[in-house]
């Protein structure tokens, strides 16, 4: 394997890795406010992408379709929160794990029947003609992934730091009870986080669809790697998921080239189990002091 091939594999892998990072970031948003994550997030990615594709085939222009797709994702996020998470959180049980899995199963089945089981291409105005840059080829579609990921993560981080609503979000994340005593509704904040998380999932779907095509199983491998990224990086650090996401993307692209494409998923999963064994709070996570 020459160095240039290696670099090429690493770069295009890392760009796909940003999609994992974006989905993992969606986990962090809900984990911060409610200590819960949506195990059916992959279905949110897939259903939002399918919905957006339907709008495109109806002839709506791309720049109208994308915001509509994001809103649809946010609505799905709210639905997940209402149907699967809120009751379990009120009962302080871990029922949300099961319920979000169930909801994912349901959405998967609906998508199979509404949009069919085949993979369909996702047209985009962004060109996929490669540009030669510093010895590696990147396509504008791949670059659009990077731009979209950094833009939305940046916007959400600015929102959290600069707006009153964002500060309420941070307050509930830091201490739910204290936040509620200051008059912030924890329920509304959790809803907000699920809406944001759904929107982020939709964006991930829209960004990656031109590369992967759209179909019911488009996210099933991706979601596993997003889980890995979220756990390896820790469920707190947005910077962490970007680093780990790009690293994992590069690693698996090299693994699939050198070991065979069937082994594509293996590095992420091994990385996950290893990281959990060595550092259960994640590479970028904080150690927790147990209190009694």
């Amino acid at each position: 394997m020459t160095l240039s091939i290696l670099a090429q594999l690493a770069v295009s892998g890392a760009l796909i890795g940003l999609v994992y990072a974006l989905i993992a970031y969606g986990f962090q948003l809900t984990f911060a406010t409610s200590k819960s994550i949506n195990f059916g997030q992959g279905e949110l990615v897939m259903v939002s992408a399918s919905f957006t594709l339907t709008l495109i085939t109806l002839g709506l222009p791309y720049w109208v379709v994308v915001p509509a797709g994001l809103l649809f994702g946010a609505a799905l996020g709210l639905f997940v929160e209402r149907a699967a998470v809120r009751l379990a959180l009120e009962q302080k049980s871990e029922g949300w794990i099961l319920l979000t899995i169930i909801l994912g199963l349901f959405l998967f089945s609906v998508a199979e029947n509404v949009w069919g089981r085949d993979d369909r291409p996702f047209p985009t105005p962004i060109s996929s003609e490669p540009i030669h840059f510093l010895g590696v080829d990147v396509t504008p579609v791949e670059l659009s992934v990077a731009v979209g990921v950094f833009a939305v993560m940046g916007l959400i981080e600015v929102f959290k730091r600069q707006t009153l609503l964002g500060k309420a979000f941070e307050a509930i994340s830091a201490d739910r009870d204290a936040g509620e005593l200051m008059g912030i509704s924890a329920t509304h904040t959790v809803m907000l986080s699920y809406a944001l998380s759904g929107m982020v999932a939709a964006l991930a779907g829209i960004l990656v669809s031109p590369i992967t095509t759209v179909g019911p199983t488009m996210a099933s491998a991706m979601i596993l790697k997003a889980f890995s990224v979220a756990v390896v990086a820790g469920l707190e650090s947005g910077f962490g998921v970007v680093v780990i996401g790009m690293f994992l993307g590069a690693l698996e692209s090299i693994a699939s080239y050198s070991l065979g494409s069937g082994w594509r998923e293996a590095p992420g999963l091994l990385l996950l189990i290893l990281a959990l064994a060595v550092r259960p709070t994640g590479v970028f996570g904080k150690a927790i002091i147990r209190k009694v």
């Binding site: 009751l87 871990e94 199963l105 029947n113 293996a266 999963l269 189990i273 959990l276 259960p280």
Partner: protein
């Protein structure tokens, strides 16, 4: 007593007799196939219930263990030419080994992280089965033919009976195990891992053993699966199956062998249920009416939240309407399953059998199993005839800091045998940290801790508990899902010599110990005045009773040193007086006590010596009366005091959170 045994054992016998008898009456290979699958799934789900029900963790790896067991057995038969018994044993071995290997790292995790780790294991297993083509045949699959058993080629019917016999064995073994100290330990560490370690039970050991056991059962089911179908494909053991298995356990009812069995029948019968339209309509209709009835009743009685009542109605209504609209129910298999599960998980969190067993025990008035008479106290908590006054616990220059905060900053103190040693100080003076360091929750940053002149284990609750230090918790750490009696039984020291070995327990050899332990635990409940609430789940006890139970549980360790962390915090006045009596009686049995307390009347009434902490250091030591007059102590509590009445008593500070 007999009624209970007759009904419960009778129902089990009847079910197995029926299942064994069916193939004699019905000569239908299709039915036989289904029943065989039912037996296999039964074993699989009983295994899964160990982690999901008892350990309380969402385990998504059971399909992987089914696959690993199946492939191990398959490869042993095809490649090595082994017979059925050896191949099955090999599969179980692989299950135990990989189960333990996965458990070691994964069980340090809780909740979602554990679910993710097991999910990754499943995905990794499927990848490996697919890609190791030279071994497994990859996506092409692996064909085998069932070898004869001791020279006799089993017919399909005989193989079914073999599976049933194994299911019955697993059933009996697991019943023995789960009713023993093991079952209690599993539930205890689900409720409070910290207290489980502090009671000397060993969270980690039990978690790993439980997970490995569940995985071994999964692998056993896998071996039977391979020998039954005689063709394996990696695609069978994917995420979807693992989710369906998990949901089968939840649907049937957690922590119940019957529940696992009911879940297994649903998982096995599901495909047929969907292909028969009338049956499907009937079931969804009944489901809708039931949830409508239960939901409306729950709302009218205000026993349910609106969402809990309405969501199952909406979901089952969608099933009924969807069933009428949709052309082919097979296509909507997953959605149908999802809707059914959703209604059960929301509406019946205890599962079908959890609900049914409550209902049936009320219907037939099944009495609880009777309790033995309490043991004499002298046997449970022998009075110590130790020489009083010798140093028992010595702390030398003990330090513990968190980041830059020095919570304990060079504390030296000596606790003498037979004394009640008070530890007081204003909020944030480091009392709780001292307790947590001595009991092993935190590792000391520096300094020495000696028990009877020998170094105390550092940073391990379990090891510290094992050398005779017991503690209670300021923020109660009871095993909330267990009864008061079981809470004490978990902690009983030296009561279960046989039950330490899992095989002996599986064979049912721990029963006598169990009776004796019940009697011992009952004596301790009597000791703190809770004997009449022995069967009450800890979460339903009053706050005061929970505090007494904490002490009874710690005393069950027969400790040399008992650390009480604010035992009177938040108690009403009558309860506090009762608590003082309880502590006095524990002391009279010769137990040395370290008492952390804010209430000055509790301290004055009980303590022989008091150490006052401030800023992580000892600022005074003496009898309660001496300490009260010490100007440094008064200053620490009230700030600097100018000339005034010297003997102002130390005020009762509010409890630290």
């Amino acid at each position: 007593m007999w009624k209970r045994l007759l009904l419960i054992r009778g129902a089990e016998l009847l079910m197995f007799a029926l299942l064994i008898g069916v193939p004699l009456a019905v000569q239908n290979p299709y039915v036989l196939g289904l029943l065989t699958l039912l037996a296999i799934y039964g074993i699989l789900l009983i295994g899964l219930d160990v982690t999901v029900g008892y350990l309380g963790q969402v385990n998504l790896a059971q399909a992987a263990f089914l696959g690993l067991g199946a492939y191990t057995a398959g490869l042993c038969v095809t490649r090595l030419g082994w017979g059925m018994p050896l191949a099955t044993l090999a599969a179980i071995g692989v299950g135990v080994l990989l189960g333990a290997l996965l458990a070691l790292p994964a069980l340090r995790l809780e909740g979602p992280q554990f679910a993710l780790a097991t999910l990754s294991f499943t995905a990794l297993t499927v990848t490996a089965l697919n890609e190791l083509e030279w071994l497994t045949g990859g996506a092409q699959g692996l064909s085998l033919s069932r070898p004869p058993l001791f020279g006799h080629l089993l017919s399909a019917r005989e193989f079914y009976w073999l599976c049933m016999a194994l299911l019955a064995l697993v059933w009996i073994g697991m019943r023995n195990l789960l009713a023993s100290q093991w079952g209690r330990a599993f539930e205890a560490l689900r409720d409070s891992p910290i207290a489980t370690d502090a009671m000397g039970v060993g969270t980690y050991r039990h978690k790993v053993a439980g997970f490995a056991l569940g995985s071994a059962l999964g692998a056993l089911a896998g071996a039977l699966y391979a020998l039954n179908f005689q063709y394996l494909q990696p695609q069978t053991f994917v995420y979807e199956l693992t989710v369906i298995l998990l949901l089968g356990v939840v649907l049937g009812g957690r922590k119940s062998l019957w529940g696992a069995f009911v879940g297994a029948s649903l998982v096995a019968l599901l495909p047929n249920l969907l292909s028969n339209r009338t049956l499907f309509e009937a079931i969804s209709g009944v489901g809708f009416l039931l949830s409508l009835f239960a939901g409306v009743r729950g709302l009218l009685r205000r026993a349910m939240r609106p969402f809990q009542a309405l969501a199952p109605i909406v979901a089952t209504f969608a099933l009924v309407v969807g069933g009428l609209l949709v052309q082919n129910t097979e296509d909507w298999r997953k959605a149908i399953f999802a809707l059914m599960l959703f209604s059960v998980v929301v509406g019946l969190p205890e599962g079908l059998m959890g609900f049914a067993s409550k209902f049936l025990s009320r219907l037939f008035r099944i009495p609880d199993a009777p309790l033995p008479a309490a043991s004499p106290l002298e046997q449970v908590l022998p009075a110590k005839k130790e020489r009083s006054g010798a140093p028992l616990l010595e702390l030398r220059d003990l330090k513990r800091s968190f980041g830059g905060v020095r919570a304990v900053d060079g504390l030296s103190m000596t606790v003498r045998a037979g004394e009640v040693h008070g530890l007081i100080g204003p909020n944030g003076s480091g009392k709780s940290t001292v307790v947590n360091v001595v009991s092993g929750l935190y590792t000391p940053t520096a300094g020495e801790m000696l028990l009877r002149g020998r170094p105390l284990p550092r940073g391990s609750l379990f090891d510290t508990a094992r050398v005779g230090v017991a503690r209670t918790f300021q923020n109660l750490q009871l095993f909330t899902g267990l009864t008061a009696l079981e809470n004490v039984m978990v902690a009983l020291r030296g009561a279960f010599p046989k039950s330490r070995s899992m095989p002996l327990v599986l064979l049912g050899l721990g029963r006598r110990e169990e009776k004796r332990a019940q009697a011992d635990a009952l004596a301790l409940l009597e000791f703190v005045g809770l004997a009449d609430q022995a069967r009450t789940p800890a979460r339903d006890l009053t706050y005061g009773a929970q505090r007494f139970l904490e002490i009874a549980r710690a005393v069950a360790r027969k400790p040399d040193l008992l650390i009480l962390d604010e035992p009177a915090a938040g108690l009403s006045h009558p309860d506090m007086l009762r608590q003082i009596e309880v502590i006095k009686r524990v002391h009279q049995r010769g137990v040395t006590i370290v008492l952390i307390e804010h209430h000055m009347d509790v301290v004055s009434g009980l303590c022989d010596v008091v150490t006052v902490l401030d800023g992580g250091k000892s600022i005074a030591e003496g009898t309660p009366a001496e300490v009260k007059r010490n100007p440094k102590v008064i200053e620490a509590y009230l700030g600097e005091v100018e000339a005034g009445p010297a003997a102002s008593p130390v005020p009762t500070a509010p409890a630290t959170a």
